[in-house]
Amino acid sequence: MSILNLKGILTPLTALKQMGKEPHTINFPDEQKNISKIYRGFHHNDLDLCIGCGNCETICMNDAIDMISLAEIAGEPGDSGLRPRIDYGRCCYCALCVDVCPSGSLNMTSEFMKVTPDPYDFLMTPGKDNPEAVDKLSFTADMDTSLNLFDRVPMRELDPEERVKSFAEVFLGYNEEEARIEANRCISCGLCTENCPVHMHIPEYINAIANADDEAAIKIIYDNNDLPEMCGKVCTRRCEDVCALQVRGEAVAIRWLKGYATTRAENAEMIAEIVKPEVREPNQYKVGIIGAGPAGLTAGYYLALKGYDITIYEAQKDPGGMIMYGIPKYRLPYDSIQKQVDYMKKMGVKIHFNTKVGKDISFNEIYDNSDAVFMGIGLQDAWSLGIQDEDAEGVWSAVEFLGKANAGETPDIGKRVVVVGGGDVSIDCSRVSKRFGADVFQSYRRRIQDMPADPEEIEGAEQEHIHIMPQTIPTRVIKDEKGHVKGMEYLKAEMVSEGGGRPRPVAIEGSETIIECDAIIAAIGQKANYELLPKEIADKLEMVKDKIKVNEDRLTSIPKLFAGGDAVKFGNSDAISAIADGYAATKAIDKMLMGK
């Protein structure tokens, strides 16, 4: 190359041609470039939508996110009351918190500018400190882009055509693979535990299942629930109502997962071996328990573990109370209850069957000989329909009907059955009737979406071709000359909302319709029967309407008499609430007797 490389010296001068061109400089701050539609700037949190699950805090690897209490946000079931606060001295703007936010409340905005001499100025509670940023949302996570798994693993079930032929279990339960996948969806926030009456350790046992440690899961489950297999099949699962994933998707199948874990222990021996509960030395105290339903069994089991001498008095020949006699076998098989009761017996729970208190043994005898008494007597008497001719032959109460069915007998219900009611029990009655070969019509006063029954059960009933007749009000039973049911007359109803409350059904004049049937099953609720109590006790016992009044310890107005289950006014009337009553009473009795 020559020293005088003329071309090499001159070509760079072509740069001069740029001189006349308009510069592409962005004249910041006078003009500003359009920021990307998905720019990851500062956060914004919709404080009302946020449920305070803390998933953002967990995913943040920089510890930039803290959950803090805000004065204006009170917690409630399904909302921890905490909201994320972000330290922009830690944040790396990765937006993983946005991608894992189950409710979709946390988003990023196109705001990114913050310049200050004060290093303490970089803490921000998104949504509270920058409410105006709601208009600048940029990086968001919708259902497609979210990292949450919103779809639950479908539960395999028997084909509707197949299942109406027998009392075989409808839901087949998760297998191992399905359970692992489902358990892996859980984000372990623990919001669910608040809505569970017993406050089971839900995130812990789901994590154990996710980690393929089923035994640990069983051990954790039995820590405060002695009938988990039952709960794993028929629980009202209010936990799932407040699941963080339920805000935008399907809740984690907490019930099925519990069912999966507990059915891993195939018999009472296996349960005992896995759970290996801590058993205290026997003490001198005796506790009498009336009723071997969920409440009584729970109290008995946990008191037995604490070293008390426990005796349960049960009027029936089998344990379980309503879960034995009130829940159809296609939902909860006999063996399942028996297995759990066997396990409890191994742990020192003594049950006297066929012993009706007030008849075979007096209440006072139990009360006087025990240091504490727990009463879990449940609701045995049905509410009547309160319509004309309901004493006709062929009009059943749900308790009676299901009791017979569960005892293995075949109730005589004929070919066409009308079930009245909209709760779980009514659906049970319908589906049991179907299994006895009847054509089933279900009458309910309100709309289908108003039915208190579990939607899954309603769906199951519809699949089994049960004709649900919403907005119908029964008015009269029609009987034939022999006094047997022939049909039922009802009025159609329309829904009227008044004052913003729940819409009320109002009968339409002149819409009388008659449906022919061979049997009517009234499933509109039950009431308690306090005949077992001696008069002086019954008089002293404080009641709320027709239920026993108890305090938080489930202590009644009578000293050392505790009560739980459906017969008390505390929480809901379902099995898990009964278990909660039994568990709470256990603690209270222990505290009362042992002083701790």
């Binding site: 071309k7 070509t11 720019y39 995913i59 990292l147 372990s188 996710a210």
Partner: protein, 368 residues
């Protein structure tokens, strides 16, 4: 013969000619380098230790910080390694998007290199142009990923977001614009007598030693050896795309510059093809719940091609929800230390940062 006194000269860490926060201890005699020794640790953040504390998804966000000028190939290497460990498939569309992102990352890094290479040679105009134009690539990134530099976009299973509306057109337009601008750049750099004089015969890597020394990427292709991970072990959609790998003989700064000049054209070509053939469908195969995501035990070694050469990721899982070991092999790991120490002796002091730029030495990925 009089021998000039040997002086120790510390080049960096604070020095305008250094390519990052590092230091080269030079022994010089007059203007000539006698020996060179690289000192590292100024940017050591213990990434690999931190990854051991973070789960598989959290680790993904830290990856791009390994090498600031070109974060995407590292993300991609990690994603490939995790996918190898898990056997996770990637949708075809994601493969194409990944290819585009990887190539865009290469282009922006090339443009930065234009600035660095010419700037260290005393030619500042080109830097103003190319680094200014680089913002158009960053705009594309911003629209696609939500950030200019740290994209955190290619995660195991695919990519994070789909191509936004209108993005493809914008990408085409940007490519057209860049292609036009490239002629200007090249006139300014390669036709420039100063650059020619300074680049030719400087910083020579001998062809017969290159592979043994661990040289990769453009410096390797600048010695005439044709090796490119995109062709040797194709990943993403590179096996479905037609492109050439330029090589030049010589092994000096000039040859490396020529390789880069041609590669940027190839990158534009690749992006156009990928945009043309973009398949539909999903862009992302879901990973499990990130908090409970475990990866089967085993180890994986995945490589991608960056501007500076191959970037490998050695990833070990013990079956838990966190990586057992993540070890990055940055392209500069050999370039910046052993190769540099071998080729600097005999060069002029003024050429040291010139050579550093042409090797693409990136300290943050050397010490991590």
């Amino acid at each position: 013969m009089t021998r000039e006194k040997e002086t120790t000269l510390y080049l960096g860490p604070q020095h305008p000619g250094i390519t990052g926060n590092m230091m080269i201890k030079l022994k010089v005699s007059g203007d000539t380098v006698v020996s060179a020794e690289t000192h590292l640790g100024y940017l050591h953040r213990a990434f690999e230790k931190l990854i051991e504390r973070r789960n598989w998804l959290q680790s993904f966000t830290i990856l791009c910080r390994f090498c600031v000028p070109e974060p995407d190939p590292i993300e991609l290497s990690y994603a490939l390694a995790v996918e190898k460990l898990e056997g996770r498939a990637v949708p075809e569309r994601a493969d194409y998007i990944r290819t585009i992102v990887a190539e865009l990352a290469r282009i922006q890094s090339f443009l930065l290199w234009y600035g660095g290479q010419s700037g260290s040679g005393g030619l500042y105009t080109l830097g103003q142009w190319s680094v200014g134009d680089r913002n158009y690539i960053l705009d594309l990134f911003e629209d696609l990923t939500g950030a200019r530099i740290y994209h955190m976009f290619m995660w195991p299973g695919g990519v994070r977001r789909d191509l936004p509306e209108g993005w493809v057109d914008k990408a085409y337009r940007t490519m057209d614009y860049l292609e036009k601008r490239l002629d200007d750049y090249n006139k300014l750099l390669f036709d420039n007598a100063i650059f020619q004089k300074r680049a030719q015969g400087v910083g020579i890597i001998p062809k017969d030693k290159a592979l043994e020394w661990g040289v990769v990427g453009p410096p390797l292709r600048g010695t005439g050896i044709k090796h490119d991970v995109r062709i040797d072990e194709p990943y993403a959609a590179y096996d479905k795309i037609d492109f050439e790998v330029p090589t030049y003989e010589g092994g000096d700064v000039w040859a490396r510059a020529l390789v880069r000049r041609d590669e940027i054209k190839q990158s534009i070509n690749i992006i156009r093809q990928a945009l043309d053939n973009m398949p539909g469908g999903s862009y992302y195969n879901r990973i499990p719940n990130p908090m409970k995501w475990t990866v089967p035990a085993g180890n994986a070694w995945a490589k991608t091609e960056s501007v500076r050469g191959e970037i490998g990721f050695y990833l070990v899982s013990d079956g838990s929800n966190k990586p057992r070991r993540a070890h990055l092999r940055g392209a500069a790991y050999a370039h910046g230390i052993s190769v540099l120490e071998k080729i600097l002796p005999g060069e002029n002091i003024a050429d040291v940062s010139f050579i550093l730029n042409s090797l693409g030495v990136c300290p943050p990925e050397m010490e991590r």
